[in-house]
Symmetry: C2
């Protein structure tokens, strides 16, 4: 798919993915509503297969291949949720997935990719080495590259999360999605455009990786330089396909600091009893930082993933909440 | 209510509690199904108000008081989920709750009770001191005691969790509930008796606090002696009202060890992305220990609560799951 997904395309993707992708629930939390003054609707993509929304895009990419393409297998370089999602999606279709990972990737992430049937190819932990290794794999195996976000098939897949949310929760004033490479945010913007045009869509981004904020406000792609954020899923920069959608359709890109991200993550664990990874807590952190913008508003939040490191939690004391 | 709740009573309680108590979702997990060979249906009482099923019984007890009784307020001694549940339920009805807690209770539990509007009365950390302090509070304040489990109003409230599960998931072969004082298990047995008579109900208990197992098999109440288990909600012994229901209606009381409880808790966090406390993981641990009994069976599990200590997790390395 080389063109921007239209309304019918998103409907087709939902139809194609039915039964393959979880229709995740929407959760509410009265404590967090009181705390923020907003009415929050959490779309729980942490409960998605492979633990993150990434499975939507990866599944769509894999299932949209024709038989001849599928037989060649798929490949990507990723040490994050896209790696697990693509491995699982390929495994479900019965085709090979070659995943290039840095040799210092966390052991549990490597194990998860292998458990889903992915072929892990290790490389040096630099972007150059990853791209070179991926190029080799693509040539040797004749596999097809599935980019984690700069691909309209991926964007169309990610759009289904927002589309489901709008169906379950009509009349949302706002929707917030975390923004790294921009696949989820651009998909959410298309979802709102086609299915809930009255909803304003905001990107939520760590201050320490604010390339989307800068790019949006300066009107040109400004890649992030050495991002230092706990939100490991948001360290990437926007791509040539995601940026134009975001520039045209986002209401704003709002940023937040590291301490607030950790506080928001902790509140979600403590009060909602759900496991989210740091990136998924960034939208709530943004709402907490911008109370006037969201007070009294029906506000959707995409809890993007739950693949947190349970062995190294970023807090030592309970969060304090006043009722 | 001084008599065993009948079918109509449970229906009345559900009606009375509608809108006051969350109708919690049922979750599934393909990884845990593969691991156990069973088809597991998890009733998520960790998402219940105040973080545990205890809110059902406490709410019912509070709302079944007449106006004159309610004006006197309620009281209990508890350092666990019943304390928070009763404080919140009383707060929602606008009446006083006096909660006797040991002075060494965890600060976050004390803070939670106070945040819900409960009046905390501190005592020495012995059962004797707790009972004496409660007696004083009952006399001074003319408040009504709400026992955490040995009370038919409480049992009828807890029964609504199983009743909802049977409505959402018909034809369950088995249902497992953790057993401490027996309020949830006896409620689950009544729920099955009235709404799903084909379902076998099992109690799930730590080996290190196996009073229900012993009492069930010897046909007499045998209180637990110095239980040492991580499942802090299950350290209490059966009572005079819960034991007869369990003796008559349970298919068995199955026990499991501490390491297995921790492994099951870890799997639920890692794979289902939900926060449960150790007691809530005991039924899954039992299923893992008795694979032949549950293989191929539609098996309900009540995830009893999510008030885990996020600052002192009982694991250091990832759980290993083979697919």
């Amino acid at each position: 798919m080389q063109t921007l997904p239209d309304r019918q395309k998103i409907l087709d993707v939902r139809h194609l993915m039915a039964g393959k992708v979880h229709r995740t629930p929407v959760m509410r939390c009265s404590t967090l509503d009181s705390l923020t003054g907003a009415s929050l609707f959490f779309k729980c993509e942490n409960f998605q297969k492979a633990g993150a929304f990434k499975f939507r895009g990866a599944s769509h990419a894999v299932w949209s291949l024709d038989a001849g393409q599928a037989a060649r297998g798929v490949a990507t370089h990723s040490s994050g949720n896209h790696a697990q999602a693509l491995a699982l999606a390929a495994g479900m279709r019965g085709i090979q997935a070659h995943i290039v990972m840095p040799e210092n990737a966390p052991k549990n992430k490597i194990a998860a990719v292998e458990a889903y049937g992915g072929q892990v190819r290790f490389c040096q932990p630099t972007l150059e080495a990853r791209e070179q290794m991926l190029a080799e794999v693509l040539e040797q195996c004749d596999a097809l590259e599935i980019h984690p976000y700069n691909d309209y098939r991926i964007i169309a897949g990610q759009a289904t999360a927002a589309a489901e949310l709008f169906e379950d929760c009509p009349d949302l004033h706002c929707l917030l999605a975390p923004v790294g490479g921009g696949g989820l945010l651009s998909g959410s913007i298309l979802g709102a455009r086609y299915f809930s045009p009255g909803t304003k869509v905001f990107g939520a981004e760590p201050k320490n990786a604010d390339d989307a904020h800068q790019s949006f406000h300066q009107g040109m792609l400004i890649p992030v330089d050495k991002p230092l954020t706990i939100a490991d899923g948001l360290r990437t920069s926007l791509g040539s396909r995601t940026f134009p959608i975001i520039l045209e359709g986002a209401s704003d890109i709002l940023t937040t600091g590291e301490e607030r991200i950790i506080e928001a993550m902790q509140l979600i664990w403590e009060r909602m009893k759900v496991v989210v990874e740091p990136s998924a807590a960034v939208p709530l952190a943004v709402v907490m930082d911008h109370p006037k913008l969201f007070a009294g508003k029906r506000t959707g939040i995409i809890l993007s993933g739950g693949n947190a490191d349970l062995y190294n939690l970023p807090w030592t004391i309970p969060a304090v909440v006043t009722h």
